[in-house]
């Protein structure tokens, strides 16, 4: 079958790739582009491990065709840290030990970034509801929620 040529913007850089029509964006990121930070958990939109920010909106990359990325702008976990170092969310996840095995962590960081981008001062309830689509089977969530709260405070302090 013929492959589709996709031009898209990932973490600020123009990227071109070829994909089969039925390939998911997650598969294209990981297998074609070698961007392994975005994880595959369930592959059915239940676990949030594959979360990316697409045109400012949090989505599961497993529930999008790669071909749908044509002309879009996305941020993946690889685009969260900058040249100066880790993003505050990443620092706070380390500080609060908000991860154990780490598989869910990129999805949580990306989802939390999407939340703080729209709501810099979320309460605990808002954080828990927003992150309800991200599953972690190790930490029990409390440390993750505290890390996000702490990151929000730090970002407010820096602003």
């Amino acid at each position: 079958m013929s492959k589709i040529h996709v031009q898209t913007t990932i973490n600020g850089e123009q990227v071109d790739f070829l994909c089969p029509p039925q390939q998911s964006l997650l598969e294209a990121l990981r297998e074609t582009l070698g961007m392994l930070g975005t994880k595959e958990g369930c592959g059915t939109g239940d676990c949030g491990a594959c979360s990316i920010i697409l045109n400012g909106r949090l989505v599961c990359s497993c529930l999008m065709l790669a071909a749908e990325a044509q002309g879009q702008e996305m941020t993946t976990i690889e685009g969260i840290a900058d040249a100066d170092g880790l993003h505050v969310l990443q620092e706070k996840f380390l500080e609060h030990a908000a991860l154990q095995c780490g598989i869910c962590t990129p999805g949580f960081i990306v989802a939390a970034k999407a939340l703080l981008d729209r709501d810099p001062n979320p309460d605990e309830r808002t954080i828990r509801y927003w992150l309800a689509g991200n599953l972690c089977r190790c930490t029990g969530y409390d440390k993750i929620v505290r890390a996000v709260q702490d990151a929000a405070q730090q970002l407010a302090y820096e602003a």
């Binding site: 079958m1 029509p21 998911s24 939109g45 697409l54 065709l65 989802a111 309800a132 991200n134």
Partner: protein, 293 residues
């Protein structure tokens, strides 16, 4: 078998061309909106090759208009966008809440009312809310376009009324008149992100003395398709929507239901719960209608 293909037409005419060409050749074709059902089915229960027609690049599927008479929601508008629209939330809070019940933040960024309807699940949360709000499907067709009430759209479990050369452009709702309120409630065993055991949407209009002058009731997950229950609406009409009228509406919902027993609930349980949901949704809709006076 055929092969997979992906096309993203930018006009209704181009999309119809693709559908007609497939109808002629007998090759399989399927419309894609948010993809939150389609992509899951593609990985699991239905992997067969097909042409996927992405309808998100078409102007008419991306419009969200709140007019003086009519509200139009394009078939590609994601739930998150509905929830961020304060005017829509004020006019049709029950419908927006129904959309907001479906899935996580990630799903909300993609999932659409149009997709929820076309997927034709008996348990689709937004369908009873759309029925209650007198929703009308705007369908692009080889012969032009046609309209159909939402309650006529689902014809069976996973089956809808679209012909081979048709796709859903969007949904229309009459702008609610003064003293109108709506609500949708569903029951799930968890607090979040589950599939309805039963659901009920109610829309009510009251006159300035609090008497109900218009009512619509839709129920879900208690029959092969979501249903409009006229007997429930009639039980509310001409009343002050007190306990007795709400109880009668609930009884009518139970009578209209024909559920199955499965892991989420038994026939008996679903028939009982749909009445409770009708009473409670009716009371919320009444409160909203009074508040909106």
């Amino acid at each position: 078998m055929g092969e997979f293909a992906y096309v993203a037409p930018t006009s209704v005419a181009d999309a119809i061309d693709v559908l007609q060409e497939h109808a002629r050749s007998g090759r399989r074709v399927q419309a894609l909106a948010g993809g939150t059902d389609l992509l899951v089915q593609l990985r699991g229960v239905d992997k067969a090759p097909r042409t996927i027609v992405d309808v998100k690049k078409i102007e008419e599927t991306n419009r969200l208009d709140i007019g003086s008479d009519e509200i139009y929601i394009g078939a590609a508008i994601p739930s998150a966008l509905l929830n961020e629209n304060a005017e829509l939330k004020a006019l049709l809070p029950g419908l927006v809440e129904a959309a907001d019940l479906i899935g996580s933040s990630q799903i909300q960024g993609r999932a659409t009312l149009g997709g929820n309807l076309c997927n034709a699940s008996p348990a689709a949360d937004t369908t009873p809310a759309m029925i209650a709000n007198r929703g009308v499907c705007v369908i692009a067709s080889g012969g032009g376009s046609r309209e159909m009430p939402v309650e006529a759209f689902c014809t069976g479990v996973g089956v809808n009324a679209l012909a081979a050369d048709e796709f859903l452009l969007g949904l229309k709702f009459p702008r609610p008149p003064a003293r109108t309120g709506d609500a949708y409630l569903r029951f799930i065993p968890r607090t979040e992100m589950d599939i309805a055991v039963a659901g009920c949407g109610v829309s009510l209009t009251l006159d300035d003395t609090g008497v109900c002058t218009a009512a619509r009731v839709g129920i879900g997950a208690v029959a092969p398709t979501p249903l409009r229950v006229d007997a429930a609406a009639e039980a509310l009409l001409g009343t002050g929507v007190g306990d007795a009228a709400l109880a009668a509406a609930g009884v009518a919902c139970t009578a209209a239901s024909s559920p199955i027993s499965d892991k989420r609930g038994t026939v008996q349980y679903r028939r009982k719960v749909v009445a409770v949901l009708c009473r409670r949704a009716g009371a919320i809709a009444r409160g909203r209608a009074l508040g909106a006076a």
